[in-house]
């Protein structure tokens, strides 16, 4: 039975990890601004995260060692520590954005100001991390997020000119009035939203939490190649919706309420309710993942007991880390910093920091001592190397682009 449940790890990782506030914001904004001209960036991001997560999941299953345990070993304590600080900061920034996302989703359903929802969201996320079992956590939020399929229904009902959409996606071009730098910035934002590091911290730690072993390697592939592409399709659907509804009306997207509008127009109240529930589930799932990842990263670097498969009192420092991270994230949220802005920075900085954790995993996945015959074969290494180049280039250009385009404005 555990194997079937294992599938939900992929679905939650996709739902929570892939479709999170970063994807909702990035795909909504780029759809309204560039139509499907940036769809390719999502596709590249999806392939990238599949390659990365499959390797990390395989390494975790075979060696029982999650990402940050290996980062320290492979890069040494010093570079590992710098890597840890950067990855923790970005994961924490993403956690803050996700909690803002939950609050915004609850605001849509209640018309109660999102600031009031932020502490409630923080407490709810902590309670689930503290009390709910790993597998049931996956199923609840993984499957709840599936209601986002209503977006596909909405796009179909809008009856767009499918050949035009396909043409836009197939022939990406910078629309007039937009700078190339801004176009490149948003390509990186989409790529960063699709390939965020915390997804891999969560996925590889989840594999250890669920006690995967060599027997689960097929499950690992199924999880990766079902979960992440599913998230990618939903992101592209959202991009299509805002392209069809907002781009012709020269509307730029800057709030979660706009992201839900196309579904409301196309499907009505039921659709609107479902998409809001979907936004809530996706951001809540992602908040769980980033909250846990705040604990995973530091605990795995220092070798402290971690994870949900042991009683909370047997992983005291891990749970303290998660509690403090959630508390500070709520504090930052309450400063009324715009959650959409925090999200944009978190996905772009994620893109910049990816090589830090990608390289060690690529090395370990090739280490016969560790992996035996499960080491990378030529295809994983070919794709692995291609994405290594992509990640290093993205990391090099992200910060300068962020400055030049004033974060894509």
């Amino acid at each position: 039975m555990n194997k079937v449940l294992g599938i939900t790890l992929g679905i939650l990782t996709a739902m929570g990890g892939f479709v999170d506030i970063g994807d909702i914001v990035a795909n909504s904004e780029t759809g309204a601004r560039f139509g499907l001209g940036l769809a390719w960036a999502v596709v590249v991001g999806v392939i990238g995260i599949c390659v990365f997560a499959e390797m990390a999941g395989r390494v975790a299953a075979v060696s029982g060692r999650p990402v940050f345990d290996l980062v320290r070993e492979r890069l040494g304590a010093k570079v590992g520590l710098v890597n840890l600080l950067a990855s923790f900061f970005i994961t924490f920034l993403t956690l803050t954005a996700e909690i803002g996302g939950i609050a915004l989703a609850l605001e849509l359903a209640s018309d109660v100001n999102y600031l009031l929802w932020i502490p409630v969201a923080g407490l709810a996320v902590w309670l689930v991390i503290w009390r709910v079992k790993f597998e049931s956590m996956e199923q609840i939020f993984g499957l709840m997020g599936l209601v986002l399929v209503v977006m596909a229904v909405a796009l179909w009902r809008l009856g767009p000119d499918w050949s035009d959409l396909a043409h836009q996606a197939a022939h990406p071009a910078v629309p007039h009035g937009e700078g190339h730098a801004t176009y490149a910035f948003w390509a990186i934002a989409l790529f960063g939203a699709a390939m965020t590091p915390y997804e891999v911290f969560f996925f590889s730690s989840g594999a250890v939490e669920e006690g995967w072993s060599r027997r689960d390697l097929m499950l690992n592939k199924a999880n990766v190649f079902i979960g992440f592409p599913l998230g990618g399709v939903l992101s592209l659907t959202l991009m299509g919706l805002t392209a069809v509804v907002f781009q012709p009306a020269a509307v730029s997207v800057g709030s979660l309420s706009q992201s839900a509008l196309p579904v409301s127009l196309a499907v009505g109240k039921l659709g609107l309710a479902l998409v809001i529930i979907g936004f809530f589930a996706a951001t809540f799932g992602a908040a769980l993942e980033t909250g846990l990842s705040c604990g995973y990263t530091i605990s795995q670097y220092f070798g402290w007991p971690w994870g949900k498969r042991v009683r909370p009192r047997e992983a005291a420092r891990f749970h303290l880390l998660v509690l403090v991270a959630l508390g500070v994230a709520v504090g930052v949220g309450l400063t009324a910093v715009d959650p959409i802005k925090v999200t944009e920075y978190s996905i772009v900085l994620s893109a910049a920091a990816l090589p830090l954790t990608y390289l060690p995993i690529l090395l370990v996945a090739n280490d016969r001592d560790y992996m035996g015959e499960s080491a990378n074969r030529w295809l994983s290494n070919l794709l692995g190397s291609v994405f290594l180049v992509v990640l290093v280039v993205v990391a090099a250009v992200t910060i300068p682009l962020m400055i030049v385009t004033k974060a894509g404005s």
């Binding site: 010093k78 520590l81 079992k133 402290w304 009192r313």
Partner: protein, 136 residues
Amino acid sequence: MSDPSAPPGRELLLALQLLDRQIVDRHGKLAGKVDDLEISLPSGGGPPVVTALLTGRGALADRLGGRLGRFAAALSRRLVAGDRERPGRVPVSRIADIGNHVTVALDADEMPTYAVEAAVRHGIVEHIPGSGVKGA
């Protein structure tokens, strides 16, 4: 790590295969990392030997050196009660196996790094209801 119970004479690269490895106690509980190794000269002569794993209590901080190290050392001094001069030592004789991680024939709470974990457990975590129960 092809064969953990390899006959004596098995070669080991200390930095790659021992340093920074996860330490696991006899019940499989995680118990810190190999932050450094203690090497001594046996009294009876012969080549130096690794006499202990060093873990916790600023062993990592000493090794980092530079500003990062001093910062970490100051942090760990504040966190860790008890004598700070001697880093946590696990004699080599207590090592049960060296594989993907290092298994020691000890209980986690006998480990030097346990002090901080215990402080956080008794100080904070145990006061939160449900800390003793696995997730529902």
